[in-house]
Subunit: 380 residues, 2 copies
């Protein structure tokens, strides 16, 4: 993948990650699936049964070694001064290679070795490593990397903005009636949205939820065979990856005039979304974004139908720190990027969600999505 | 997802899994990401930070409970007699809920509790569970499920055959020159192959490798911006999921007459592929498939350029047991389904791979792919 800022950005990230390792008392970091690996190396592991793992020592002198299956080694873009590459052949045991190097990185002076492993690394590899390194203390690499990754630099915000602009173009096509809905199975509309995300510049589609009629009440509905009818709400929540960074937007449209209660729900969600964005001020606790949106929905009497948190951080991963959720009292800092996406879901009947991405800046919340929030009724 | 055989098939699988748990001394099984969960439940976990986990007791009376995020609960298709559903709300801790239930499933009579967790479950969840259940012995659920899943029943072989037939139709379009190559970036050809996989009936595209010219020497090449030229080999390796089961096929085509050595390499790979299929006899060790293919390539003098095993099992997952690799002496049994995909890769120059899926049957190896293996030169 291309990295905004190039090798210099990677070296700076690795330097900050090492400082965080030392602060957390971590002797070794083992990065595999998930975004911590591409964040420090520019290389993304394939989600397959052959182990890819970057072993990082806590000091620059100890360096970092990327263990990669020999047949995938040609995919690796070398990053001088960041890591060296150790391809492993089919007859070798990659877990043993990782464990041997890790053991050499631990200071002889004693104490329980502490190692941070990718949050999304497969359990099969973690269990095998634990067997070879008994008595070690294990934690997740997000303890080291998440606070760093949660603060996007200028080039990263730029990449997120480009991804969001591409998603906005698809959202505008939806709102403008270019994507026909009535009479088509949700699955087909989802496929069209996915194709448009690619056409607009995404390299990868991460999801394209299309929930029509009663399915709009299922927040993570999987687009299926249901044929969209006239007079329904259609929740469309989609995103992809563009130059490594994610987009994520939700718009709810109507294939006919909504009844009074549904219209009211739409207005409440739109107002809750505005309130959430408005609350996203540097220095405010993350949970304040959730509370601001929830207050609007609660006071309109729909509180029990808002069954999820208000938002999630976004960057190299679709969902990452910081989360806009009750209990997260960490203050927003400039460069935090996250979704604000309240919803109301009346089981079996209908649902509405509106979502934009937002960056916290010293000058106030900066929405990355600008596609319209007005209630849109599309003709057949 | 739809399950060949329906709820009755799920109940039979769970019954066999419980017998295997008892044989392995497992008190509890915890299924999350990966295919063991859909294999016994018909439900696939979303690969996100909210935990989905099926907790299975070792006896039928203990039952099985699916912990699922409340907002995803509407996605679950109930399977009476298989599992019950416990949606968890945003303010609840799903890991604690899982640990509490697991502790109740362990016999009071003592001994170290033994639990099998999904191979692909995220490390962040495993580490959190290990903290709440100290002293427990952990293993991977493939220890329980892989030997069962490796033997496909008739309905599963049928599903694999349908997926392969769909992939074959795309391969024929490629071999017939319907997919234009010369002058297009690899990325565009990959997107067209992906779109055709969907058109032919796949619900999901898993990968569409397009490696042209020197990129054909990178077995897991990611299709990129390189523009395909005349007079090159193009390795196309693609597959998707159709009704839950995976396809996977590779063909190498030429955009101009290959030079003598490259033509020779193609013939050697084609012969190695035939030899591998021919060796896939019930009762033969899996490694014999690898050896048969490798012997052909070795004796032609290209052994050092064949850098991967000959094949992998396939089913609900793209790669699963049994693996056709040196060291796997397990004998093939009827219903084993796997790829046979030797290749020769001369770094920086060119590569060739040919792959079909095969099922071991009492009547001999049954190839699921039948698209032609002849060397095809496509015009501009």
């Amino acid at each position: 993948m291309s990295v905004p800022g190039g090798a210099a950005a990677l070296r700076s990230r690795l330097q900050r990650a090492r400082a965080a390792m030392q602060a957390a008392g971590c002797d070794v970091m083992m990065l595999s699936l998930g975004a911590d690996l591409p964040w420090v190396s520019g290389y993304e592991a394939m989600p397959l049964e052959r182990l890819t793992m970057l072993v990082v020592g806590a000091t620059e002198e100890q360096g970092a070694v990327l263990f990669v299956p020999e047949l995938e080694a040609p995919r690796v873009v070398p990053q001088p001064g960041v890591f060296s590459v150790r391809p492993w052949a089919e007859h070798e045991g990659p877990v043993a290679l990782v464990a041997e190097l890790a053991a050499r990185l631990v200071p002889a002076s004693g104490g329980t070795p502490r190692v941070a492993v990718s949050d999304r690394a497969w359990s099969t590899f973690l269990l095998a490593l634990q067997r070879l390194l008994p008595g070690w203390e294990w934690t997740v690499s997000s303890e080291v990397c998440a606070p760093l990754r949660a603060v996007k630099d200028e080039a990263e915000v730029d990449a997120l903005a480009r991804a969001s602009a591409a998603a906005d173009r698809v959202a505008r096509a939806l709102l403008g009636g270019e994507i026909s809905l009535v009479g088509r199975p949700e699955r087909d509309v989802s496929a069209e949205i996915a194709a448009r995300l690619l056409e607009e510049g995404h390299q990868r589609v991460n999801f394209a939820i299309v929930g029509s009629g009663p399915n709009s009440a299922s927040p993570h509905h999987e687009a299926g065979d249901r044929v969209i009818r006239a007079g329904e709400p259609v929740v469309c929540d989609f995103g992809g990856t563009l130059d490594g960074y994610c987009s994520d937007i939700t718009r709810t449209v109507f294939t006919g005039e909504p009844e009074a209660e549904l219209r009211r729900i739409y207005e409440v969600v739109a107002e809750a979304q505005r309130a959430g964005v408005e609350a996203a001020r540097v220095g405010s606790p993350c949970q304040e974004v959730d509370r601001a949106a929830r207050r609007v929905i609660d006071s309109a009497g729909f509180g029990r139908y808002f069954v999820h948190r208000t938002g999630h951080g976004i960057g190299l991963e679709e969902h990452e720190d910081p989360y806009m959720v009750e209990g997260n009292s960490a203050p927003l800092v400039p460069g935090n990027a996250f979704s604000v996406e309240p919803g109301i879901y009346v089981p079996g009947r209908y649902g509405v969600r509106i979502e934009d991405l937002v960056v916290a800046t010293a000058a106030g919340p900066r929405p990355l999505n600008v596609a319209d929030h007005s209630l849109v009724v599309l003709g057949p």
